[in-house]
Amino acid sequence: MIEMKEVWKTYPNGVMAINGIDVSISKGEFVYVVGPSGAGKSTFIKLMYREEKPTQGTVVVNGYNLGSIKEKRIPIFRRSLGVVFQDFKLLPTLSVYENVAFALEVIEESPSHIKRNVMKVLDIVKLKNKARFFPHELSGGEQQRVAVARAIVNNPAILIADEPTGNLDPDTSWEIMRILEEINNRGTTILMATHNKEIVNTIRKRVIAIEGGRIARDEVRGLYGYER
């Protein structure tokens, strides 16, 4: 599903964020990405939906080689993904409903289908009653949940989430994790960067630890590690 071979990423300002990563993630896996602040987790994730291009090496996701993919096919590729961005990336001029619906509009779903699905996921993240609100009228955690809703609404083959519980209280975090597990059980590959030790240590899954842009640890049923 996801294959990285000898991937390096240096940002234009010279920061070497990813330094030779080899990794392979199969269909249906649930993977945590952990590591200290600035280790390269987000960069690692951005390489997978091609927000960033690798400086060196090949990245193959869902059958698409992201190094050589044609400009025109990138949108098609991205539609098979669901992404929860670390900074949410909600469209400020669209309401909560419209933000989530956008992910379905781009694939030209029928309005009735859109309506049903959007209301369903908003219900799942407990924001049905805020459907008409705009992002700036929401609390931090509510915005994060809209981002989660948008990422799962199109039933993606791969769900990529960058700290999806960073702004959530523990109860809501567990709720979100329950949703992710359920989606994972239905066959969706999940890749999630997180700082939440309790979650990683409780819901035991594969853990990839990144430090200084390299994979420091890759364990099948790992722990968060980094004990104080």
Binding site: R78, V83, K89
Partner: protein, 297 residues
């Protein structure tokens, strides 16, 4: 693209206009003001051109007929002139009438020449107009060779000067209006560009969520078109009203026979067409150009 998607793009474009409130107002007023300026100068220059043309059309060839020519010979000459290429109209002016006109044209000073009425020193004259003023010289040269033509006069020096002046004025006018149109285009596109740069982040997000370039572009197309058209309707309305008012009150307010305004009828429609055309084109173009820059995500 499915039908409902087209509909969606239209709806989205209109919504964006409303949601970007101040930005929309700024863009529309930029379009409106620039096209108002273009429109004012367009009307001004078209009227000046009209004025220049009417001055040029006053140019005529005066054919002085040999004093010895009989009435038949004069009629014969008339027919020959008629056959000269590019001749438009021929008017016969007997010498008595000629003197009358001459004395009148001198105004108060003319009285001095009243005494000439007895011993009229003038010739009978054919006043000949060419089809276009610029053909006057050729016509004059052709007529000069006909029999019983004593002399041909059309004020070569003055006419040449007049034509070189009107053509210079036309060039300046054309230069100004074209320059104005280009700067207008640039400025409007510029304004639209700023408003779209402010939405750069949004465009990036859309692409990251899987939107194709086309999907993002269409609402901007609609938005640009609407900006341009709405922005151009304002100056069209203002100019049409103002011009009508001016035209109606013109007869009374200023009285120069030699300046008369072009009739509003075809003029204002032409102007409306030009302004709305520019507005629509530039709205779309400015918007498309600017979006394009941010689509590479």
């Amino acid at each position: 693209m499915k039908g409902r998607t087209i509909f969606r793009h239209g709806k989205e474009g209109i919504k964006n206009l409303a949601r970007n409130g101040w930005m929309t107002f700024a863009s529309i007023s930029a379009v409106a003001i620039m096209l108002l300026i273009v429109g004012v100068f367009l009307l001004l220059i078209l009227n000046l051109n009209h004025f220049a043309t009417s001055v040029e059309e006053d140019v005529e060839v005066r054919v002085f007929i040999d004093l010895t020519a009989t009435t038949e010979q004069q009629e014969d000459l008339h027919k020959k002139i008629e056959r000269v290429p590019n001749v438009d109209t021929i008017t016969y002016l007997p010498k008595e009438e000629g003197l009358e006109q001459f004395i009148e044209s001198l105004g108060e000073q003319g009285e001095i020449f009243e005494s000439l009425r007895g011993e009229n020193p003038l010739y009978d004259v054919f006043e000949v107009r060419a089809v276009t003023p610029q053909q006057t010289e050729g016509v004059a040269n052709a007529i000069e060779k006909l029999p019983y033509v004593e002399e041909v006069g059309y004020g070569k020096d003055i006419v040449d000067q007049l034509f070189s002046f009107t053509s210079f004025a036309r060039q300046v006018g054309l230069f100004l209006i074209i320059g104005l149109m280009f700067t207008t285009m640039f400025l409007i596109a510029n304004t639209i560009k700023i408003t779209i740069i402010a939405r750069k982040r949004e465009i990036k997000i859309m692409k990251l969520v899987g939107a194709t370039n086309g999907f993002i572009r269409w609402p901007f197309f609609v938005e640009g078109l609407l900006l341009g058209v709405i922005g151009s309707l304002i100056p069209v309305a203002v100019l049409a009203l103002a011009y009508h008012k001016l035209f109606d009150s013109f007869g009374q307010r200023i009285e120069f026979m030699f300046i008369d305004l072009l009739a509003p009828d075809p003029l204002l429609y032409q102007m409306a067409g030009i302004l709305i055309g520019i507005g629509a084109f530039i709205g779309i173009w400015g918007s498309m150009m600017s979006v394009r820059k941010f689509l590479k995500v």
